[in-house]
Amino acid sequence: MASIALENLAHSYLPNPGGNNDFALKEVNHIWEDGRAYALLGPSGCGKTTLLNVISGLLTPTSGRILFGDKDVTASSTAERNIAQVFQFPVVYDTMTVGKNLAFPLRNRGMEAGYVSERVQRIAQMIGLEADLHKKARGLTSDLKQKISLGRGMVRDDVNAILFDEPLTVIDPHLKWELRTQLKSLHREFGHTMIYVTHDQTEALTFAEKVVVMHEGRVVQIGTPKELFETPAHVFVGYFIGSPGMNFIPVSVTGNKAHINGNTIHLHHDYGNPQGDILLGIRPEFVRLSKSDGLPVQINRIQDVGRHKFINATLFDTEINISADEGFEIESDMVKITFDPANMGIFCDDWRLNGKAIDHGNGGTV
């Protein structure tokens, strides 16, 4: 086992890629540390699967290098890389029994029979297929077939990494939780590096220690679930993580002040004098409705979803969402909003700006 490093890695499915848009995977530099659980999160078609296939060796990247530890494996075959991968749709060997399916990767590597049957037993127990080991894989439901695929991915204990490509797509919702929990405990037990591709933020945030967010073939942020939530590095991360996503309000910024329609919002940091498309980002959780303070809004609708109330409002032509606790009483004369200053971010041309911390004695609300 070793860390996996990607150096200037990029891939295009075209034979002679020209501009940036020809690349399904734009240049990425990243080190997957040994033994950690990562999630690769992004909408469909953002290059997640491409990245995964490049790591496992199913695709040879157009440019850049992949290192396992110190060893350059860019040109190595999948076999040499010794990586396990589970695909989105179940792949089982129809004519084999469940047990033989699980044993297949071990047999192909010439493991001895005793070890093979011990591992198969163990994995079968983990995925709950002990009773079915002698059944033919062909007649099983797709739930069970996908469990076999998962099992085949986990049966080798010497792999460098296990890659999951949206493995729970075909699994029933109630089983998803169970299997995800099993994957996590497996990770704790064996300490394999795991990379889990998904477009479901709940899945990503519950599975992984670190989440890699991808957007249009580019890695836009790598961070813990907390970091993604509190300090998204890119407008896309703000939208994609959280439900509803982050609010973005067009403003102009000078120093530690943001200006909107003649109103001034005091910021926690000094951003200098940024030029370009400037947006102020704030999560619905950090917007407060009030009677007297702040900026005027027009309330459009209120939704009660049980634990929260979601309020949709319009602030100078921009639609924003506000999240309030269930106990919060909304009164008819609450037509102003304030922002929690610690949780505001300023974005310039989609990317987050890092402001200079400044000393602001009075707490700096709006």
Binding site: N53, S56, G57, L58, S77, T78, A79, I83, A84, Q85, F87, Q88, F89, V91, Y93, D94, T95, M96, F104, P105, N108, R109, K135, K136, R138, G139, S149, R152, G153
Partner: protein, 291 residues
């Protein structure tokens, strides 16, 4: 619900009934009728009962032809099925070259049977044929009209040339239905090329291969035109397969009675073998699905 009885509905199936009657039932019953009678011409018939059947079953001629027929079908199946799979496996998966391949592969299938026979008959001739002349110039003795073995080799090559494409196209269709993920998973599992074939490609091709075997068996069991054009069933009786023998009997000797009995038994044999074959295949399939 009240059922209305409307006998006029029969009118709807009448056209089909008439068609089937004229195309199959009446000719078939004529043959059945012939097989129980003897005729000396001038449309005078005598009832002979099962005599033709008994005589045929005792005659060596029929059994020899049947033996040759079974051997022939067996040989061409043993060649065409594996060869067709091999061709399908080595065909390009997509792009222009795949289309070109498919067209080229289909060409032999479009050539009429007797043209195939003529092509090879000329091609193999020792005096003017490209193949025959080349072989004899190389000092290899080859003459399909005198040597029984050479005649067999020629008929078999002809059939393989004509029909392997069919097997290949069917197998290719089976192969192209395999999702890419299967191959990727096999790479991850480090399966050897043989294992990929054995556990992924072959199981996925099973259905179409069953059809290919059945089609090729039935068709080769009825082979007539090619050996007829090549040597007329010779040299001697070497390539006299069942249908050639039948035609000799019915048209050459004009023995209507025995020929009719022959046709019926021939028909029953094909029906029986195909039925057994199909039932066995289907049963294996069902059993495997159940387990």
């Amino acid at each position: 619900m009240e059922k209305t009885v409307n006998q006029r509905a029969w009118l709807l199936v009448l056209p089909v009934l008439v068609l089937v009657a004229f195309s199959s039932i009446i000719p078939m019953m004529t043959v059945v009728n012939y097989s129980f009678q003897d005729s000396f011409g001038e449309n005078i018939f005598f009832w002979v009962g099962l005599e033709w059947y008994q005589e045929l079953l005792r005659s060596e001629r029929l059994w020899d032809a049947l033996g040759r027929q079974l051997l022939f079908s067996f040989i061409i199946l043993m060649i065409e099925i594996p060869l067709g799979i091999l061709v399908a496996l080595s065909m390009p998966k997509k792009g222009l070259s795949a289309s070109v391949c498919l067209v080229l592969m289909s060409l032999p299938l479009l050539i009429p049977y007797n043209v195939v026979g003529t092509i090879w008959q000329v091609f193999g001739r020792a005096d003017i044929g490209l193949l025959g002349r080349t072989l004899s110039d190389l000092g290899i003795s080859y003459n399909y009209s005198q040597n029984a073995f050479d005649a067999w080799v020629t008929v078999i090559i002809m059939d393989v040339w004509h029909w392997t494409s069919l097997v290949a196209l069917l197998a290719y269709a089976g192969l192209s239905s395999i999702p890419k993920a299967y191959y990727q998973a096999a790479m991850i599992d480090q399966a050897s090329r043989w294992n990929v074939f054995r556990y992924i490609e072959l199981p996925k091709m099973r259905g179409v291969l069953m059809i290919a075997i059945l089609l090729r068996f039935m068709d080769s069991f009825m082979i007539y035109t090619e050996p007829f054009v090549l040597t007329g069933g010779g040299p001697g009786n070497a390539t006299t397969f069942l249908s050639i023998d039948l035609v000799k009997m019915a048209l050459g000797q004009f023995d209507l009675g025995p020929a009719a009995a022959f046709s019926l038994m021939y028909f029953l044999v094909i029906l029986l073998i195909s039925y057994v074959f199909y039932t066995v295949m289907i049963t294996i399939d069902k059993d495997e699905a159940k387990q």
